[in-house]
Symmetry: C2
Subunit: 145 residues, 2 copies
Amino acid sequence: MRASRSQARQSGDKNTAAERLREAGLRPTKQRVALANLLFGKEDRHLSAETLHDEARRAGVRVSLATVYNTLHQFTDAHLLKQVTVEAGRSYFDTNLHDHQHFYLEDEGVLIDIPGTSIEVAGLPAAPRGLSIDRVDVVVRLKRN
Amino acid sequence: MRASRSQARQSGDKNTAAERLREAGLRPTKQRVALANLLFGKEDRHLSAETLHDEARRAGVRVSLATVYNTLHQFTDAHLLKQVTVEAGRSYFDTNLHDHQHFYLEDEGVLIDIPGTSIEVAGLPAAPRGLSIDRVDVVVRLKRN
DNA sequence: TTCTTCTTTAGAATAATTCTAAACTGTTGA
DNA sequence: TCAACAGTTTAGAATTATTCTAAAGAAGAA
């Protein structure tokens, strides 16, 4: 019998990640599985390549920074991650794939999810001819009082 | 009357830019006045530091790239420009100070203004305690059909 | 296995931006 | 008018984030 794929099993964790990668058309290598477990094992997160690289190192996973970059982009292309741009010169990757928007704490460089249900954008003009709307990003920038 | 080296102004243009800078608390140096004229002389524009630097060079204004960066940031701090972030690793500065949002053509790296009156964002949650909303940025990402 | 293809990696390369310290300029006050 | 100081500009080095390279390593098929 196969373990349920919607729940994390203690002994089947690795397997679950590997399957998810395979379904996405990515060969489940040691590095990709390890990074997937770091990324998707927990609640929703926003992290940079550098952050994930550090986290991997702390978790005892040996992976190069170049591979972390490659993997983040491959995961993004495979729709396992979303890339969020709020600040020039730094990229965040978001494990929350649901429709949602972000608060951005400018002073601290921290992103916080706003659930998709609460924000609504109205009055969007039609896209110029030949183009279509890929997505609408809303960033609510916050500063200290 | 003094026929000095760099005071040739026919219609008061230079003066206007200089005054605007002075009002903003910026010493109207040759470079800042020249860049202000390039930035504010025409319709609304979105440009990068590199773009403005090239434009200055083409206009015969000798100014270093470092000064272009400094000036863009000083103008932004003084609310003469707005900074728009749509892509990691590249910053755009916007001369349109009115309330408005942007289309972003991902394939070409081009920004287009959406007039402030058309888009409306509803359902904004309250800012977490201790923080207040600085601004709400909406980016409508477009791709080719 | 063995082969082929995809992946990983260290380190170099690139791109955008910021920093540094010295030279220069605008403004002020005598 | 001009000296003097503070603010500004500059070339080039430094930094940061990211991508590239080409060589060695691992995954899947037969």
